[in-house]
Amino acid sequence: MNWGSWDNFWAMGGYGLYVWGSYAMVAIVIAIEIWLFKSRRRAAVSELMRDAVRGRSSR
């Protein structure tokens, strides 16, 4: 597939908005998902550390 120039590539034959809008949303959503599950992990670990500091008071 020979685009000829970068301009052609970004323009996507006039459909640039739709094509890049789609790929961008996928990238954004994946990024959000990664951020979400990482922050859930951080929260879980800090909860564990808080429990450990309190010295197993729940036992």
Binding site: W3, V29, F37, R41, L48, M49
Partner: protein
């Protein structure tokens, strides 16, 4: 077959890795591989999508959305079935980890469904003129999104984790049985109300490169989904097993992050 997490499971067998304690490190070792696979497949897939696959005769360049629309749609459906499977295993065998897997899959599945809808809408606009077309596939995807959201909402509303696991399993199973029925009825509804069957991905002869691109991208999304689900299930394990000794040990050793 519930494992006593106080002593390490001694027997190697079918249920060896159904213990959160043994699965946790295993999953941790698997994740980097799936990330690597994702990156490689994504690179190849995107290269095919933009630099190998030719321009489409009828749709021009807009068809390139297919390389993410179809994979996300496939994943959304595949993940639901896998989620229902693990939920069923958790319900039947009473294994906590299986239910945790189901709960870990749901958010990824829901996001894939959203992406399928979004990319479908943006593909529909240049192709059919409107952002939303009530074609059978998109409408079924929308209902699938509702099924995912229902699962997530139900589990969020129940405080007792075991009840949440089992209730979610019943819902997922009812959903998975109904999905073919729903798809069939939406198909019927769609062909009924529109003269010609409107299909975004019906393409009698797709160039081989296009098929390859779709396949590679689908694999890439699959590898990503596995990595995401494994990461999330490890977090769920930490959340639910926080009183277990092995968790405290890992924390003390600084092996958790």
């Amino acid at each position: 077959m519930t494992m006593n997490t106080a002593t390490a499971p001694a027997r190697f067998g079918l249920f060896w890795f159904s213990s959160p304690q043994t699965f946790f490190p295993l999953a941790g070792r698997m994740i980097p591989w799936f990330i690597a696979l994702t990156v490689v497949l994504l690179a190849i897939g995107l290269w095919i999508a933009f630099f190998v696959a030719p321009t489409d005769a009828t749709q021009g360049e807009s068809y390139r959305i297919i390389f993410i629309h179809v994979p996300t749609a496939w994943m959304s459906m595949f993940l639901y079935v896998v989620m229902a499977f693990w939920a069923a295993v958790g319900l039947i065998f009473n294994t906590r980890l299986s239910s945790m897997m189901a709960s870990a899959i749901a958010p990824t599945g829901a996001l894939m469904t959203f992406l399928a809808l979004w990319t479908g809408a943006l593909w529909g606009r240049p192709t059919w003129g409107t952002y939303w077309v009530w074609d059978a596939r998109l409408t079924s995807e929308l209902i699938l999104l509702f099924l995912y959201l229902g699962f997530l909402a139900l589990q969020a509303a129940i405080d007792d984790k075991r009840r949440a696991d089992k209730a979610g399993a019943v819902l997922a199973l009812v959903g998975v049985v109904n999905i073919p029925i729903i798809y069939f009825s939406v198909q019927w509804w769609n062909t009924l109300h529109q003269g010609a069957s409107v299909s975004l991905t019906r393409s009698p002869s797709m160039a081989t490169t296009m098929l390859w691109g779709m396949l590679v991208m689908a694999l890439a999304f699959w590898m990503y989904s596995i990595a995401a689900v494994l990461h999330r299930v490890r977090t769920i394990i930490l959340e639910r097993e926080k009183r277990a000794d092995w968790v405290r040990e890992l924390l003390a050793e600084g092996r958790l992050k």
